[in-house]
Amino acid sequence: MAIGSDSTAARSRAPLWPALGLLLLIVVNVLFDVLTTGGPGLFGQGAFLHIALRDGVPAGALIDVLNYGSTIVILALGMAPVIATRGVDLSVGSIMAVSGAVSATMVVGGTSSAAAIGAAIGVAALCGLWNGLLVSVVRLQPFVATLVLMVAGRGIAQMITQSQITTFHDPVLEYIGLGRPAWLPLPFPFILAILLFTATVLVTRKTALGLLLEAVGGNPEASRLAGVRSKTLICGTYVFSGMCAGIAGLIAAANIKAADPFHAGQNLELAAIFAVVVGGTPLTGGRFSLLGALAGGLLMQCLTTTMYARNIGADVAPLPQALVILAVCIIGAPAFRAMLRAGRAAP
């Protein structure tokens, strides 16, 4: 697995593993459909691969993966640079809740959709800035700094909506989550995710930014001595992560046409971190892979959708997910591979 290895070839191999994982999950689902008696078969109604046309738009489990997976992909795109600088952002779920709360409250109060969207993303970026300053200036450990907002953020979201689930009816906001463009009948969140992915890839790989981020994560001291402005860069990654969480929060709110400060973004921190890690960005920082984060995000969603297809509830689903995550982390750990080698070497 590409985790922990260190060459450009490894980085370009990185998306291989989550892609394989995706394929494996799809195969598992298909097997369930085909092999259970009375099951829907390969393409029948209710099968995993079944794609129906509802109101002229494709729908089905695979489309769900693209739709809801976009949220995780967007979070993972923001998380990847953070992890690359040896940090982590545990507050993305709570920032999603705050962003949804801000947009819903403003729209219900009569503000224009554009202003509400701008404000929501702006507040999310501010949250990211808060995290970034705590990590880069106050030198807090990243998980502590973001843990604070992870808990306090929900309180803030609750205070914004006055502890209510705020419903709204705004076509622009709703389109963010539920829209299906006529010219490309895929879920709008997925299109957003692809656009964000393209933009991030261009900015990090076609400019020196990606290289500088990898330098800061790979060897912070050497980078500092080489004149890289690590504090600004690190702060910037958290701001970007916050903005991504803001966008994801808008999508999540649009999906239910309401802002839910209690449940929005719940458990998505782990999904995002895992998406990035399995996509080839080691937690120890350094090289990061955006394509890997994309594939990892889709993999995480496929895992969740598989749970739902097998009738495992949303509350219980984190159990097999966490176990899979741990298993993958173990397999990727250098210590594990050293043990395997030692095992093979012994006669």
């Binding site: 982590v88 545990l90 705590l134 106050v138 030198r139 807090l140 450990q141 998980f143 502590v144 843990l147 604070v148 907002l149 992870m150 808990v151 306090a152 929900r154 309180g155 803030i156 609750q158 205070m159 502890s163 458990n267 921190e269 782990l270 971190i273 937690l283 509830g313 509350d315 219980v316 689903a317 984190p318 159990l319 997910q321 966490a322 176990l323 995550i325 741990l326 982390c329 173990i330 750990a333 250098p334 210590a335 594990f336």
Partner: protein
């Protein structure tokens, strides 16, 4: 008895001072704040937090972190509720829950040590997995009722006078501890200031000493005067907490395991070279944390009389905040159980003040905890950099 102060004691002393200040603020501003029943309730409400925080203290002292505390508490509560509903005796259910909690902690410790996975990652995964497992057992709150609890209450809390006396003793003990810390400060400040120019730390310490002494005396006077208000009784959870804190205090200071934990937290490399069993110690702290979290879950179950899989969300932040506020460095190696107890009491006092105030949203508690946590970690960083500068001079 050697009384010594170094800059690293400042966070704990600050915490003690803040605790006294909060107590004084509440006592002066609200009626019945400084009454036996209120103090007893404070101890009872936060008993489970304190027990969990004791386990977390050992983990953080060793340089690690445990994010799964809240989930283990919820899981334990749900498990006990479910088993008691199915006819088990609470003691049997509690024993099983303790075994499972300890095992969970041990598994996480093994993963962290053997595979060298980051502690926050493993315990984060544990946090999600264990709470999901709680939902697997019961997906909604389940009440507990069993004659055992009535029996327990009758033994522990029946005699009002005895209960009230216990509270008085406990509070006076806490105040006396504060006074003792003050005395330590005073003597050490005098000792160092006579040999060289007072350092910043010494001046700050001297100010603390004066203020703490005054506050301690004022509170002691209040205690003697106003303890006739209300007949407070320490709940069984509170007594369990005091017992756990006492045992942990002894373990941390006087057992080999405790010494090893401090050594590993101070510097893993040095500890290894000294012959400290680093691996066993690290696995041990997570096992201990699992045990304490499960025990806290039992205290929580007794306190709430129910098992709810959605309970204790965010407990890990409160616990970490209590430990850090109490003077334990997040990087490990420095800290104390006493400090953690002070930290928990500070959290409880904040909550009490917000409750007594009445018109503040309960969400402010988490914000206040977050702010305090940040302030204290900032203070730790400041003290650490002051220490580095002093060492360079």
């Amino acid at each position: 008895m050697r009384l010594s102060l170094s800059a690293r004691h400042i966070p704990t002393l600050t915490a003690g001072l803040i605790m006294l200040l909060l107590f004084a603020f509440g006592a002066l501003r609200y009626d019945y704040f400084f009454s036996a029943s209120n103090v007893a309730n404070l101890f009872g409400d936060y008993a489970y937090v304190a027990i969990a925080a004791v386990g977390a203290t050992f983990v953080i002292l060793s340089g690690g972190i445990d994010l799964s505390v809240g989930s283990i508490v919820a899981f334990t509560a749900v498990l006990v509720a479910d088993l008691v509903a199915k006819g088990w005796h609470p003691l049997e259910a509690g024993a099983l829950a303790l075994v499972i909690g300890t095992a969970l902690g041990a598994v996480m410790g093994l993963l962290i040590q053997v595979f060298e996975l980051p502690a926050f990652m493993v315990t984060l995964a544990g946090m999600f997995a264990i709470r999901a497992a709680a939902f697997l057992i019961r997906d909604q709150s389940t009440g507990i009722s069993h004659p055992f609890f009535r029996w327990l209450r009758s033994i522990v809390e029946n005699d009002g006078a005895a209960g009230g006396r216990l509270v008085v003793v406990t509070t006076v003990a806490v105040v006396l501890l504060a006074v003792r810390l003050t005395v330590i400060l005073w003597y050490d400040v005098r000792a160092t200031s006579s040999t060289k120019a007072p350092t910043v730390a010494a001046i700050v310490a001297r100010i603390f000493a004066y203020v703490a002494a005054l506050l301690g005396l004022a509170l002691a006077r209040l205690a003697v005067k106003s303890f006739v208000l209300g007949g407070g009784r320490l709940s069984s959870g509170a007594m369990l907490m005091l017992a756990v804190v006492l045992v942990a205090f002894v373990v941390a200071r006087s057992t080999r395991f405790g010494r090893n934990v401090y050594a590993v937290g101070g510097s893993e490399k040095s500890a290894r070279m000294m012959g400290v069993p680093v691996g066993a110690t690290k696995i041990g702290v997570y096992t201990l944390a699992g045990f304490c979290s499960a025990l806290a879950g039992l205290a929580f179950t007794m306190y709430k009389q129910a098992g709810d899989p959605t309970s204790a969300v965010g407990l890990e932040l409160s616990v970490i905040a209590a430990v850090v506020i109490g003077g334990t460095l997040l990087s490990g190696g420095v800290g104390s159980i006493l400090g953690t107890l002070i930290g928990v009491l500070i959290l409880g006092l904040i909550r009490l003040i917000i409750d007594f105030q009445g018109n503040l949203n309960a969400a402010w508690t988490s914000v206040a905890i977050g702010v305090l946590l940040l302030a204290f970690v900032g203070l730790q960083n400041l003290v650490a950099s002051l220490g580095v500068r002093a060492a360079k001079q």
